[in-house]
Assembly symmetry: C3
Homo-oligomer: 341 residues x 3
């Protein structure tokens, strides 16, 4: 059960309530008035808790679970242990998320400006903002209503931040325009100089970086991730894109809407990405590429060519996924046959 020191709990909710909250259908046998007090992982949940089954790796745990209720796909319903109420959904992870938010609503930061915050007199903050100790807010900064600026965050001159955004502790922002409901986790770095040099034996001359970072609404940026500002064009992160920890986004990159960039991936300068593309952990994309809508790059891959819309690639250099696995199999066979070495 979530540790109440960190996660205060709402509820309880009846199974009928939870079905409605989650957009799920309650199984026929279930008692609609039965009350649940919280959520828990399928291995740990007890009779008054709700869990979920999404990844089929956990079917055995589901079959053995003591959870009072579980969000599950209709196809898995037959494997439920006796007495478990089922909340049937074609998207159980999403239904679970809605239910978990009901038990643990996102805390709204209590408005207030810490006395130790450093706020330039020309900065403008909307209503109901919270600014934590030591935060630095520069000249002409504009922050929309309901924002939370974490401790020691440093927001450079003239930065704009939309309503209800959360700037984590110790983030730094420069030369950027941030949308609404954006979440930046601690230590994210937005808008510093891109890595641009005119290289040469007599010394590498720094090229001025004159673009911005434009971050769309509902974007999330992970801890210690870095997004450089453009060299001339802007660096753009489309609305709803989710970026994990320690990701690097180079100058002039344009990511479309709803992309997902998993931890430690990197996109080099000037690469343009369509909507809903996915980049696995530790994948790397060369610069100046065009990557289509819905393209998927497997973890660890190295992409050196454009990717058409909808294609999944893997490997270094990245290949269409079937081709990659065919090569893996061929090499394995070759090495075995030869007993080489």
């Amino acid at each position: 059960m979530p540790d109440p020191r960190f996660f205060p709990v709402a509820g309880p909710f009846t199974l009928a309530d939870l079905a409605e909250i989650g957009g799920a259908a309650l199984s026929d046998a279930a008692d609609r008035t039965r009350r649940m007090v919280g959520v828990a992982p399928v291995e740990d949940a007890g009779p008054d808790q709700v869990s979920f089954l999404d990844n089929t790796k956990y079917v055995a745990a589901f079959e053995a679970s003591r959870a009072g209720a579980c969000v599950v796909r209709p196809a898995q319903a037959g494997r439920a242990p006796d007495g478990m109420a089922l909340l049937l959904s074609d998207d159980p992870y999403r239904a679970y998320a809605r239910i978990a938010w009901a038990f643990h609503p996102a805390p709204r930061p209590e408005p207030g400006i810490a006395p130790s915050a450093h706020i330039d007199p020309t900065a403008r903050l909307g209503a109901d903002c919270r600014v934590d100790p030591g935060a630095v807010i520069g000249a002409r900064v504009e922050i929309g209503p309901g924002c939370h600026v974490g401790a020691h965050a440093v927001i450079g001159d003239a930065v704009e931040i939309g309503a209800e955004s959360r700037i984590g502790a110790q983030c730094t922002l420069q030369c950027c325009v941030i949308g609404e409901r954006v979440i930046l986790h601690p230590g994210a770095r937005i808008g510093q100089d891109g890595f641009g040099f005119a290289l040469g034996a007599s010394g590498h001359l720094k090229v001025p970086q004159l673009g911005r970072v434009i971050v769309g609404d509902d974007v999330e940026v992970g801890a210690n991730a870095t997004i450089d500002r453009g060299a001339g064009p802007d660096t753009v992160i489309g609305a709803g894109t989710k970026i994990d920890n320690l990701v690097q986004i180079g100058h002039n990159v344009r990511l479309g809407r709803g992309c997902v960039v998993v931890a430690q991936a990197g996109l080099s300068g000037s690469t343009r990405v369509g909507d809903m593309a996915m980049f696995g952990g530790q994948s790397g994309m060369a610069g100046h590429l065009t990557i289509g809508d819905g393209a998927r790059v497997a973890a660890k891959s190295g992409v050196f060519r454009d990717i058409p819309a909808g294609q999944t690639v893997t490997g270094i250099p990245a290949l269409p996924v079937k081709e990659f696995w065919r090569q893996v199999a061929a090499l394995s066979k070759l090495a075995k046959r030869k007993g080489d070495r």
Copy 2:
């Protein structure tokens, strides 16, 4: 010689002292009363300094060394230059470490709370803690005796920290329980939201992250490393595990005791690791894997399957190490034979 501005020196110590401190045997020819004033690398050490030889890449430097004494395996003793006193040990690196600590004891932070620290009145600090300027310590935080909280570190509500731990400057901690004698280097991020979304064309719905991070005793976490809190289960770092800079640990990961995770490696969500496993630099582990005790993953590898206890793997996708090198050899031969391209 260590720069005395940064590393104040204790001693001198006689060779007899040093043999005892290091758990080493002094070579017969050595004068037990001879005094050493410090440690130095084998290339730089002079007649009143102690060095060590561990990696055999440095045997030539050892043969030419002017060090007064050297910690060395008995098997290498014959290669020592004339006049060098030998401190014989089967684990020369460990013996050297003990000797180096004697010359340069770990500084104990001077107790005291900086006036500019922000400490919630409900937080409790043990005896002899040091809190540096600007540190933020939230409500109901509990910190054991003898801890050092670095400048501008931000410790969220209800976090627990065991005795004698060192929280580096500008670390952020949320929703976590930290053991004793833990060292967090600057900029480490512990306990922020894991990367959990119910993905979908209509928008990626954030899934509440309701677990904690549990960090065992004697753990070390490198600069700018990130450890996300669990989604429901906890993220757990076993006692004595050492994590290098810029490492990513995803939600729900469980690392056993005494593991080593080298710089820029990443473990994806829900992967479970036994004790004493080793992960090379820039290696990446997919999610939901089981990795056995003592498994070893070579640098740069990408692990997409479970690893049995004791196995060493390498490559992308990772293979048992012999199989990998057999494939490397087979491919090399094939390419040479064909003169392909």
Copy 3:
């Protein structure tokens, strides 16, 4: 056009001025007295703006550009649209950089010490330094004239920083000596303990890290990059070397002059690199290697052997570039022929 909220603009300049500033030759047809008001990317530039063409991927954009003037190689001059003034240069990126600096001179930080900065009374700051809110400057620190220490940066005892260096917000510096005109971007970590342990089943014993980090003049270090101090020898970054975001430099590494290390690359402990070597994004170098002057490591490569001067390598394990591509071709052919799997 660069957003004037973030990038105040100087000028205008005549084409004759700009030719001189950029070290470029003005095309014969151009009106030397025509005035330009700023720089812009080739797709966006208007008739009173200057752009440049370097990467041939953008020739089509150049041909369609409305830019009033463009810096370009003589070989591309024939493709310019009618009426565009040409600034001819064999190094158009460098010429453009000089012109862009003329329009947007690097802002000199206004001298002054924020009242909330924590400066030890024994620290010495040169003339005309700027220290932002919350910065912590330890005992016996020496900072040269004209430096800028960003908000909340933490500079440990006895650190030295040369003239006109810029320490970004929230950097941490320990046990290091920093040259002149060095730029550290936000969150860079310099001088923390290297990752040194005497490993063993009874516990990994921390080895004292007794070296420093020596950073040469004109070095740039990216956001959230980490450079560990030496274990005994120093970690050394040669003058003019440029290090991108999220790079890891292990203890005892020595980088020569004018090297380039792209984002998320890592160099393991004790590797020594000559001058003007280049490391692509996400490349990784094992420890204890010797890498010659002008060596080049492609993005994503894993280097486990020494590299001779001037050689370009790629792959995991890294091979000379031709050999790598021969293997890629051979494997592709093999997999196709077999229709394996």
